[in-house]
C-alpha cells in the first residue's frame, strides 16, 4: 500500500539557495503528562520546500506538525512560522493560522454546511471577503481538486476521497503559504488514495511549501525535497528521498523501511 502511486520522476525542487525559512523549530520539547513525546526536535523548512515526515505510530510525527499551528502547545524550545514566533499572544497565533493550512486524517469537514459553504466560511469570517468573491474563489479551488459539481452537496453525501479533496480546497481558499498534511490518506480506501495524492502532487508542482506526515513512499520519492524519519519523539535521520530509501544509515530506519515494504 505504500506505493499506491507509481513514483513518477521527481518534480524538481523550486527551493532557491537563499530562500527564507518558512518554519524554524529549535530544540522543541513536549510532554503528554509524564510522557516525553517530542525530544529536542529541530527542523527548518525553507519557503517552497516539501518535507515528508515518516515514522512508526507513536513517534510524535503528528504532534510535531500539530505544534506548527498550535493545535498542540510545545513546552520548551522555539517555533517560528513566517517570521512569527508562536507564543501565547493571540495576534501572532491568528497571523500564523492564516498562513498555514491544514488537512486532517479524518477530513473534519463541517457536516452542517454545504461543500461550498465549507470552503467560503473562513475567507468570509477570517479574511473578511465579500461572499460572491469567496464563492468564486472556492469554485476555482473546487475545480482544481476536480469536484466543482459537488458544491451544493453536503459532506455526508461524498466519498472519502472526495471529502479529503474538499478539505484540501477548503484549506487552499485561505491562500496559505504553508500546507500541513496529517496522514491525509490513512483513513481512505485504497482506490481513493490516488485521487488525493494526485491533488497533492499538483499542489507541490505549483511550488507550495508542504509538510506531510505520510507513509506513501511513492509520493515521497516524487515530491519530497527532504524526508524526515522520526522515532519515539526524536528525529533520527533526514535527507533526500533517494539517500534515505536506498542508503539508510541507522538501524531504526532500516527496520522501518523493511516493515513498510513488507506491506504493513
Amino acid at each position: 500500500m505504500s506505493d499506491t502511486i507509481e513514483a513518477g520522476p521527481h518534480i524538481g525542487s523550486v527551493v532557491r539557495a537563499d530562500a527564507p525559512p518558512a518554519i524554524v523549530m529549535d530544540k522543541v520539547n513536549k510532554w503528554f503528562g509524564a510522557l516525553h513525546v517530542l525530544r529536542d526536535v529541530s527542523l527548518n523548512v525553507a519557503l517552497g520546500e516539501r518535507v515528508v515526515v515518516c515514522g512508526p505510530s507513536g513517534s510524535g510525527k503528528s504532534t510535531l506538525i500539530r505544534c506548527i499551528n498550535r493545535l498542540e502547545q510545545h513546552q520548551e524550545g522555539r517555533i517560528v512560522v513566517e517570521g512569527n514566533e508562536l507564543t501565547d499572544d493571540l495576534r501572532s497565533l491568528d497571523a500564523i493560522r492564516r498562513e498555514v493550512g491544514m488537512v486532517f486524517q479524518s477530513f473534519n469537514l463541517f457536516p452542517h454546511l454545504t461543500i461550498l459553504e465549507n470552503c467560503t466560511l473562513a475567507p468570509i469570517w477570517v479574511r473578511k471577503m465579500p461572499k460572491a468573491e469567496a464563492e468564486a474563489l472556492a469554485m476555482e479551488y473546487l475545480e482544481r481538486v476536480k469536484i466543482p459539481e459537488q458544491a451544493k452537496k453536503y459532506p455526508g453525501q461524498l466519498s472519502g476521497g472526495q471529502q479529503q479533496r474538499v478539505a484540501i480546497a477548503r484549506a487552499l481558499c485561505m491562500k496559505p503559504k504553508i500546507m500541513l498534511f496529517d496522514e491525509p490518506t490513512s483513513a481512505l480506501d485504497p482506490e481513493m488514495i490516488k485521487e488525493v495524492l494526485d491533488t497533492m502532487v499538483g499542489l507541490a508542482a505549483d511550488g507550495m511549501t508542504m509538510v506531510c506526515v505520510t507513509h506513501e513512499m511513492g509520493f515521497a520519492r516524487q515530491v519530497a525535497d527532504r524526508v524526515v524519519f522520526m522515532d519515539r519523539g526524536e528525529i533520527v535521520e533526514s535527507g533526500t528521498p533517494t539517500d534515505m530509501f536506498e542508503t539508510p544509515k541507522t538501524d531504526r530506519l532500516k527496520l522501518f523501511l523493511s516493515q513498510i515494504l513488507r506491506g504493513h
Binding site: H112, K128, P130, E133
Partner: protein, 399 residues
Amino acid sequence: MSSTIDPRLLRTPPKKGIRLSWADERFRAIIWQILIVGIVVTIVWWLVRNTQHNLEVRRIATGFGFLQREAGLPIAESLIEYTPQNSYLVALTVGVLNTLKVAVVGVILATILGTMVGIARLSKNWLVAKIAAVYVEVIRDLPLLLQLLFWYTILQSLPGPRQAINPVSGVFLSNRGLKLPWIDWQGAHTAAMWVFVAGCIALFFVRAELRKRQYADGQPRAMWPWALGLLGLAPIAVWAAMGAPWTVDWPALRGFNFSGGVNMSPEYFALLIGLVTYTAGFIAEIVRAGILAVQQGQWEAAEALGLRRPQVLKLIVLPQALRVIIPPMTSQFLNLTKNSSLAVAIGYQDIVSIANTTLNQTGQAIEGIAIIMGVYLTISLSISLFMNWYNARIALVER
C-alpha cells in the same frame, strides 16, 4: 425496428384482484383490520352504554351547561380578576392561566439551570464536574412528587411573617411565601414592554440585513449596538417619554402579614423550585450529550482555518449541538408542563386542581376530566408543533 412487436413485450403488470382466500395476503390484512377495529368499537360501545345507563341511574345530566353556573369556589391566586361569584368557566380559565404561569416560568428557569449544570458536568474543574454529576444523579432518582412535598414542607416550616428571613432589603421569605418589591405598574411600563417585544422581532431582521451587507462587502458588522439600542434604549426612551413613572412598592410588615410588593405563594414557590430543579437534571444530560456529540476534530479544523473560539462556537459547534439537543429538549418541556399537574398535591390551584374541585362539586366527572385532558393535549400539541417547525428550520441545513 421491426414492425411486428411481440405483444408480450407490451404487457402492463396484471391488476391483481383480491381473492377471497386466507392465502391472499391483502385479504388477510383486511380481515385482521375488521376484526381488531370491530373489537375496539364493541368495547367502546359497551363502555358508552354502561356510562349512559349509570348516568341515568344517578340522574347526572351530561353536557357543558354547568360551565355557566356560579362556581362558588375560592381561588387564592389568579392572574385575572376573579371572585367566587364568577362562573365555572372563569374559574377554569384561571386554572389554565395558573398552569401556564408555572409552566412558562419553569421552562425558562429549567433551561437556564439545566444548561449551566450540563456545562458544569464537562468542566475541567474536577470539583465542579463532580458536584454537577451528583446533583443530576440524585435529582433524577427521586420521585418528583416526593421532592415537591419536601420543598413544600421546608417552606411551611419557615418562620412566620414577623420573623421572616430578610436576606436582601425588600425581600422576605416566610411561611407565607416569598415577598419581592415590585414597581407600581402603569401604562408606560406596558408600552415599554411592547417596545421590547417589537425590538426582539426587529433585531431578527436587523441581523439578516447586517449579514447581507457583510456578504456584499466582506466587512463584519457589530450586532451589539443594535441590540443595545432596540432592547435597551428604545424601551427606556418610550418609558421616559410617557413620564418615567417609577414608584417601587416595597413589601412591609403590617400586623401579622405583609402588604405591598409582589407575593409568590409557598405553593407556587414550592412547585416552581421542584419542577425547575427536577427538569434541570434531565436537561443537563441532554445539553451534555449535545456538546459531546460535536467531535473534537470540528474545533481543530475550524481553529486551523483561523477562526477565533467564539466564532467556532457560533458557526460550527452550536449549530451542530442544537440539532442533537432540541428534540429531546422538547419532550422535557412537555414533561415539565404535564408534571405541573402535581400542583394538586400541594394545593396550588392549577387547571387539574380546579377541574377536580369542579367535578367534585358538580358531579360532572366526564366533562371535568375531558377538560383536563383537552387543555393538556392542546398545550402538548402546540409545543410540539412549534418545536417541530423550529427543528425543521435548523435541520434543513443537514440534507
